[in-house]
């Protein structure tokens, strides 16, 4: 009978007091691995808010600002890009496709984005996933609109419903484009990106609702929806446009050409790089989370230390018996360390099981609510390292009661007085 079997049987005999410790270690492990998992998946999902788009071009501004308004619909463009410039650049040989976007209006708190049907064909998010329709189809008529999943679900819209857009970003009665209602023709599948919170219309639609407006207010003449259609609805300017290149190797060259464009001041950003920069500035939160779960682990290990120290009292006779049959100092220390090892390994196994259990339950909910896909993947090297760290930490912690037990066994000798 070796020491490991003795440790196993002894631990099984005292399982009730040890199970609680196993559970507290398990919770720390679940938390640590869970935070790590969520952190990584959130980051991946964030960095893939836009994918396959090589450049985003807008009027000259800081890269973060351009990223924020064009991708996240946060903030405003200070300037527009003229339609002529857009057409000139879009016509260049290196450029495979472009998707113009025109922002500025809203609908009950959701941003309205004018674009072309190319948007539905070229826009990619996540792992190169295209946009898909839950119901309906792309817009076709000037007064057609396609809603993001959140817009439809939170406002209760269905295909065929009528939608009134508001001028500007705050809804106010006097600024409603209520003379030109739009009809919902399609609702997109959930993407977990800002697309879900966007009301999509054609560029012509944006043009039509502003045809009798000048600056921030209505002009004297009013044109109804039908009359507006008679005019040329080609926009004079757009807010920004997304660019796909024939060859990704040309990205930097085209970016430089746009930035140096003589006709008007513009900025081109590489969305992946700008997203990564931006992530770095907002990722302090995840570090805090990580530190907190580290403290939970330390608390778990300290809890284990107190439990194991308190079991030493009831184990004095057991250790005296082992000493009497010839157990050496190293055996006594090892016996206790083995017990902490058993507890922590069991804790890790239970912790990982709880993690996957939670993932299985939480995954659909998280995907639906936050658009972050918590994939059921194997533990990655960092996570294995975290667990190895937990186990090494536990062994070091276990040395303390190990030495305490040995010192006591020297004192006790062969006869343990109660």
């Amino acid at each position: 009978m070796n020491l490991l079997r003795i440790a196993l049987k002894s631990a099984r005999f005292r399982r009730t007091s040890l199970l609680l410790t196993v559970f507290s270690i398990a919770i720390s492990v679940t938390l640590l691995l869970g935070v790590d998992k969520v952190r990584k998946e959130t980051k991946t999902s964030f960095l893939n808010t836009v994918s396959q788009t090589d450049l985003i071009v807008g009027a000259r501004s800081g890269p973060t600002n351009l990223l924020l308004y064009s991708v996240f619909r946060i903030g405003n463009a200070t300037n527009n890009v003229t339609w002529e410039t857009y057409e000139t650049i879009a016509a260049q040989d290196e450029i495979a496709w472009t998707v113009p976007i025109s922002l500025g209006d809203s609908h009950r708190g959701f941003r309205v984005m004018g674009t072309t049907t190319d948007y539905f064909d070229y826009y990619r998010y996540g792992d190169k996933r295209p946009l898909a329709f839950d119901v309906g189809q792309q817009f076709d008529e000037v007064y057609d609109t396609v809603l993001g999943a959140d817009v439809a679900s939170s406002l209760g819209y269905e295909v065929g419903d009528e939608v009134i857009l508001s001028h500007g970003l705050v809804s106010a009665d006097f600024a409603d484009h209520d003379d030109k209602p739009f009809t919902v023709v399609g609702i997109l599948d959930r993407t977990g990106t800002p697309v879900d919170r966007t009301v999509h219309v054609s560029l012509a639609g944006i043009e039509a609702i502003h045809i009798d407006w000048q600056g921030g207010g209505r002009s004297g003449v009013t044109l109804d929806a039908e009359q507006a259609l008679k005019f040329d609805l080609t926009p004079t300017s757009i807010t920004a446009f997304m660019v796909g290149l024939e060859n990704r190797a040309l990205t930097f060259r085209v970016q430089r050409e746009v930035n140096d464009y003589q006709g008007e001041p513009m900025s081109a950003i590489i969305p992946g790089a700008t997203l990564a920069d931006f992530w770095r500035t907002i990722s302090a939160v995840e570090q805090v989370l990580f530190v907190i779960s580290g403290f939970v682990l330390v608390a778990g290990l300290l809890g284990m230390l107190t439990t194991i120290l308190s079991t030493l009292n009831e184990r004095r006779r057991e250790i005296a018996v082992l000493r009497a049959i010839g157990a050496r100092a190293a055996h006594v220390v090892l016996l206790i360390v083995l017990e902490t090892l058993l507890v922590v390994v069991a804790g890790c196994i239970v912790g990982v099981a709880m993690l996957y259990g939670l993932l299985a339950i939480g995954r659909p909910i998280v995907t639906r609510r936050f658009g972050v896909d918590l994939a059921m993947s194997w533990l990655d090297p960092t996570q294995l390292l975290i667990m190895a760290g937990v186990i090494v930490g536990a062994v070091l912690v276990g040395l303390i009661p190990g030495f305490v037990a040995y010192r006591r066994s020297i004192q006790d000798g062969l006869d343990v007085r109660i």
């Binding site: 049987k9 005999f13 049959i325």
Partner: protein, 237 residues
Amino acid sequence: MVTEDRPVVSLERVRFRWPGQESDTVAIEELHLNAGEHLFVRGASGSGKTTLLNLLAGVHTPTSGEIRLLGTDLATLSPSQRDRFRADHLGVVFQQFNLLPYLTTLENVTLSCAFSSRKTDRASNSTGVAATARSLLKALNLADDLHTAPVATLSVGQQQRVAVARALIGSPEIVIADEPTSALDADNRDRFLSLLFQEVEAQRCTLIFVSHDPELANRFARSIELAEAGGELERES
């Protein structure tokens, strides 16, 4: 290592004093035991019987004097060598709580071999350690059905006999017993002693048996008495 003319146990001017105490707990001028001899050590509670056994087992080291077991001076061994020596050459029976509650009867007996390859070798000579343990248990009147039982279901008398089996497996040269009968009634005590002697003689062990009970002395060929205070060796009969 064991030679016929050399005593198995030999103590000379052994003194042991607990730190902070005024007098010696153990003070033995001279004591020699040959192979197969049985010694009864009587002393009142607190007279230092357990301390003496701890010294013999190499768990404590004497303040002065020399303890030789099988010709080896324990003082020349490191603590872990003394532990090994104890594992290989000694069997120990306590007053009570001899057994590990999470092991079966049989496992408690074979446990003795866990830290001693010498005992393992000697116990497994023909039939294997488990078979040797079983026959020892049987010789000590412990029926087969008790061998795999959890020790908590055994009576105190049965537990003490299991402890004897554990002390004897692997045929150690020396067996020390610390008041193993104090928790037994008179009938049980006498039966226990008979079985103990029977097995100790079968294995030709040297036995040192301590107890506060003077009635037991007449069953031993040799006995000594420890004084209440100071632990001076009083008389040998």
